[in-house]
Symmetry: D2
Subunit: 339 residues, 4 copies
């Protein structure tokens, strides 16, 4: 099947191109990217020299499209493609939030295609697999929400966790995009760690939306305090979620709950020691450790992923596989490039 | 004044030696270090070639000693020195906890000199300056407690913060000591971030001890959920403390409270954007940002320091300065080696 | 086909296990590793959790073995396997040097199976492909020699390069093995670069051996000044080779010579800008740039590779593919995990 | 004495400001920086919060100026200052090359003040101390030339080294300036090493100029093949110089030659193991190791420095100290921030 990448020149776009090199069913047949249009792929990405494609200003021939365009631009381009019957996995935020008002307030733009929001599925296959398989438009989750929601889902579902949740998340620098900025310059971020967006990050409404769908009747709405950090590494997100246990539980029961919840989920592994981001380098895994902190009766729910893998491009391919009736793991790695 | 370093071969010992190169009043006259005894300083630390000292198995002639020995060994060596009238700044945990039982349970050893615990002062000069100045035995705080306590102190003192506190702390690798281990090997920790000791870290009782001293009547005992992390950098600690505001407050009042609390404290700077560990590289500063998260009514209290500076050797020299009647900043840097 | 890994617990052994996860023809059926014998693979390598293997003290059932054991131990174990008709790719130095005396002087040990040296083929498939395909015992090249020989081979073969060669090579830390040492400890090597073994590195005789085979009649024996460096990265080798041009040449001719030499070699890409080690992260590529420095009439011949990929485990699988009559690229990546 | 910094917003300018915090005789009284003019120092450099200065578009009141402006702009600003009797240390290339034609060809600009070239002294105090002390205009050496010339000087002076020299130099990223670019973006350079400017770097003529001054009669002009590299670290340069020994020498004689040459030079330390860039982190040292490679009769001459320290701002202060009749080491560190 022919696939195209819209916006190949960013980090998620390039990671999609890398993963598609190894995909047995998808053939990358066209790529777009405004800033580098006209250049050959090999000139922009020397490590992807196998592709003989030239970056186009616009594309539209393939059967399925991954969009790694910025929000709003993405919906503008994806809308017509969907209407022409193409399958689309949109890695921007445009089709993640089902409530148009929340989207417009969060991103401070007018949604170009609100009529498609109903059709769009939030592409977290471990929670929404059948819906993904049945749609032609997926809003691919953000990197932080993927880790955070997967860390919290079993405890929220079981009514075990208080809806007042603190999420302290640490991200590698590739999450900030490929364009150089003062914040992402080597000399500024090497040997440095700091928080940012302490007053609210755009990914927070996604987390709330997905967890609210899972909370049992009688549990109050989810309320998050989400603090993202930049740490000096290229790839990787570690999300630590803290919340009070609101039922009696012990560590063994907690592990059992999580193992049961993710039984048969190939890309989520429940582990008994704090997960390390490096275990996910270059693959499509999320490692989750639920911990019951006895003295405080708090839950510490940790998840590690590659922000470009399960947090972006890997998950996009997992979604595309499902949308095409293929095994979800096709072309995706489980082993990490470690050390 | 002649000073000695017990255990110069670890990270804190070496940092003490580096700082003493520039101290106008303290002259490093002797150093000990069992593993490297007999070697010249320059052979172990080529970047400290100015010292012509040889590492001794034991020392005891100087007027003031910094001990960077492991816990228990440290008290065994420092006890007799104190009794001989020497001033001692102990960087181990041996004289930090005033309650012998807490110490012995935390470190799983018998205290070699419990009779000195009463004399010992917890050496956090911003909170205990006059006591430090009056004693001859200081228990120099741990790296995590220094950042955590300074981040929380004003809010706890003011009765503004709930005593149920979550601390998510990130540390550079030098905090794990100078001896190579699998955890601290470059290829394991580079491009990696993970939590450790999620069930309780030895520094936690110090944090509780110091905050409990500050809480107003009527506030329940402090109860922490402390989760330390290793991030891929050499130096630096960022401690993020989360707790509910239990009084009405706004952001402006919170800044004002913190600025007032740390007025005249040269080494604590209250800032209005998330502090970065790199601002403290090689110096003796702590940067603190208190943030009021309106939607959740939570406080996010952040502090950044160099774990070997204000978190260990720098603070030890600050304490020694006070104990000797010198200006507390003597020989210490405020500017960071940045970038 | 069933394959085994001898010494799975080092970096090359673990990389072999990672690559074999994706190999369509080789099934990893047994692994050995003395230090961790008795443990499950997942307990030592959490990011390889798909394997249900237990690490054995000894193995011998598979059809083909990769040995990542230390030199001498490796030949002791591989010798009997070869004699029992097994195919062996030995990643140690034991079967790289065809001259027993050179081996014994370089490694300061007695060769356990000198009688096998004649059978052994130096496994650099781009230069020795047919020989590799015909043997059952391959001495897999060292990481530095792979890059250095591939950078120099075309110029040496053509009689263009003086045999007096300076090689300034930079390696990531994983080349130093998985066992923690002071040199490889994060805090020592991060933000650090230095040379080592300036008086001679064990890989030098391999480089001389292979280049001497290529030099035309009339060119004097190869004489190298090889200086390896450690740079603060996990993976990657960059070898810069400097030598005088001894024939007239220009840049265009030099490119043409190299392109022609490596035509049809899938894993060697000749490029026109200085190759970057990151282009090879996790893959089996070598990027080579030959440069003619006009003012000095020197050749600057550069090659970049992943020291664990083409420099070790990837090349071992490439060799094994050839030994088994499979396409050499089976199971190996060309795209890099970048950024 | 009042000093000013022209162009404080780059890496060298900020390092000057950091070092001046600790200088006992120089008081930083004014700073300029076009891009950030009007801002307070603390808003641009939070880790330099002690300064209450505002960045000005232009300055001119101080007695001595450090210029960290770009080449050409620097001479335009410094020229009038020198003519008004101010002392100037220019960190740009404008007053390094005594031959106007070489400067203009190298930098492809017209020199704004060629009439000052005669007055200007190349500020490498270990080789030109008395000249520096006697002038009011110093061209502060480039980072690569400082390390390269100091590594080579004793061997060239003694007529021991062939004038055909290969220099393979490795630099941390701060040498590329403070402005973010694709090359210096964290995700591009972390875990990466590569050469650049293989056909000629602007620093090469300085190296040739200074070494040509030192070569004995009868030795042919210096001819360099200089290849700079970017390695993933913030600070540090390692320059490895390779050349043939043209006299008989042994290792002991070589050490003796170097030790004698640098006797009494506080900031050059001759060492017997390969120097590490980290030994110079934040200080003003150069560590030099001369090595005689017996088999090839080559000299391997290595030098490590902090590119912002002895390679830029530290050396500028050393020069300013000499120009003002102060001890050259005033305000400069010898101990490194290590680890």
């Amino acid at each position: 099947m022919k696939v195209g990448i819209l916006g190949v020149t960013g980090n998620a776009g390039a990671e999609l191109a890398r993963l598609l090199l190894k995909h047995p069913e998808f053939e990358l047949s066209e790529v777009s990217g405004r800033s580098e249009a006209g250049k050959k792929m090999v000139d922009v990405f020397p490590y992807l020299h196998q592709y003989e494609l030239t970056i186009q200003p616009e594309i539209g021939e393939a059967d399925l499209f991954f969009s790694a365009l910025p929000h709003k631009s993405s919906a503008e381009v994806c809308g017509p493609l969907v209407k022409r019957g193409k399958k689309v996995v949109d890695l921007s935020a445009d089709f993640r939030l089902s409530d148009r008002a929340v989207y417009e307030e969060t991103y401070q733009v007018t949604h170009p295609h609100p009529e498609l929001l109903e059709k769009a599925v939030y592409g977290l296959p471990e929670l929404r697999g059948p819906e993904v398989a049945a749609t032609s438009l997926v809003g691919n989750p953000g990197c932080y929400p993927t880790a955070s929601v997967l860390a919290l889902a079993p405890a929220i579902c079981a009514g075990l966790a208080s809806p007042r949740i603190i999420i302290d998340a640490k991200s590698g620098v590739s999450g900030a995009g490929r364009t150089p900025t003062m914040t992402t310059n080597y000399i500024e971020i090497n040997e440095n760690t700091h928080a940012y967006s302490v007053d609210g990050h755009r990914h927070e409404p996604e987390i709330v939306q997905e967890l609210d769908r899972l909370r049992p009747r009688g549990i109050k709405p989810i309320q998050t305090t989400f603090v993202p950090h930049l740490v000096p590494m290229t790839r990787g997100i570690l999300a630590n979620c803290y919340t009070a246990a609101i039922q009696q539980v012990n560590q063994a029961q907690l592990f059992e709950l999580y193992r049961e919840f993710y039984r048969d989920k190939l890309f989520v592994q429940v582990v008994e020691r704090p997960p390390e981001t490096k275990w996910t380098y270059g693959n499509n895994m999320v490692y989750v450790m639920p911990h019951y902190h006895e003295r405080s009766a708090n839950l510490i729910l940790m998840a590690a992923e590659d922000n470009l893998g399960k947090g972006a491009a890997g998950q996009a391919i997992q979604n595309a596989n499902l949308m095409c009736g293929l095994p979800e793991e096709l072309g995706l790695d489980i082993g990490a490039v470690y050390p």
